[in-house]
């Protein structure tokens, strides 16, 4: 029989180990959510006005997700240009990849604006979709993805229309065919070779 301080210490050590394991699991789970695990599906529209259920419609394909808005003067353009380089690198290499850019500004970015954004840059939208939706749906999606964002430079122009820009994070997130997020890159510091390689290695 060992009812003394030795047994008590064992119980404490076991409890502490279990708590540490639990904490580690919570942290990992939390990190996954911060990267952008979708907790549900969202009804969106692409740049041609076609209905898209995100992310379900992309199951079975590798997916590259980024975030932009059409009033964005600089950051989104840098990210978009880098993704275009990745897309060109992967073209014809047999990877079944879809690219998705979701608006950060559903209030102003309708399907026409997103289509113009792509057309003015001569982007091929065959496997690259620019998605928008109702404000509530897109905001829920962005919250779900852990997107940090905030309106800035809020002003009214001469015609009384509100103008603003959006401060935001710039992630480019890789999803595997099962809809599991596997990797995350910084859009403005994207190395197209690294991303193309990571996509190629996705299960």
């Amino acid at each position: 029989m060992n009812n003394g301080p030795g047994r008590s210490r064992n119980v404490w050590e076991s409890t502490l180990a279990a708590l540490l394991l639990l904490l580690t699991a919570i942290l990992f789970w939390g990190c996954d959510n911060a990267v952008g695990q979708a907790s549900r599906s969202y009804q969106l529209t692409d740049e041609h006005g076609r209905a898209v259920t995100f992310p379900n419609d992309y199951r079975g394909r590798k997916l590259v997700v980024s975030y932009i808005y059409t009033h964005c003067p600089d950051v989104c353009i840098v990210t978009t240009t880098a993704i275009e380089k990745v897309r060109k690198q992967l073209a014809g290499k047999g990877d079944d990849v879809s690219f998705v850019s979701i608006t950060l500004d559903p209030r102003r970015d309708d399907t026409t604006a997103l289509r113009q954004y792509a057309e003015l840059r001569a982007l091929d939208t065959k496997n690259w979709h620019f998605l928008t939706g109702s404000e509530s749906t897109v905001d829920s999606l962005l919250d779900d993805m852990g997107l940090v964002r905030r309106r800035s430079f809020i002003e009214q122009n001469e015609s009384g229309r509100e103008t603003y820009f959006i401060d935001h994070d710039d992630p480019v997130v890789l999803w595997d065919r099962e809809g599991v997020i596997r990797d995350r890159f910084k859009g403005t510091k994207l190395n197209p070779d690294d991303v193309a390689q990571a996509i190629h290695e996705l299960p």
């Binding site: 964005c72 600089d74 950051v75 353009i77 800035s152 122009n157």
Partner: protein, 161 residues
Amino acid sequence: MNYRNTLGRNLQLWVALLALLAACAPPEQPQEHRSGGITITGMWGTPGINGRVSAAYGTIANHGTEPDSLIAISSPAAPLIEVHQMVEQEGMLRMRGMKWPVVIAPGDSLAMAPGGTHLMLMELHQSLQLGDSVTLRLSFASAGQREVRFQIGNQQNKPQN
């Protein structure tokens, strides 16, 4: 008659010589716009939707011995143009407007590149697409007004002005 022929031949010679000199003259440097100590080089801009925004990049250098200030920018393409900087704060990329005038110290330059400092053309009068040209008028306190014409392009294929 002989005198006329000689004169004609001399005239032809002079015209040929002048043409040769013109051909030998150094070509105009369209990429560099110099005024006083200020040079503006490598300007290009990004596509933008009518009523929305476009960014322009390039370098404004002060080669003079005194500071100079960029005091205003205007363009037929947009009613409002500002100098903005991107900074990373609180996990976000945030845009910060630079206050007028933008002072450029002697020997220093205002380098504008994607992801950093840029000229922001706001409320575009019409959409700007790849290959379009844009004119900017930049006013400097000392160097005066300079006009720059540049093309719309993208990062992987910057247009050469």
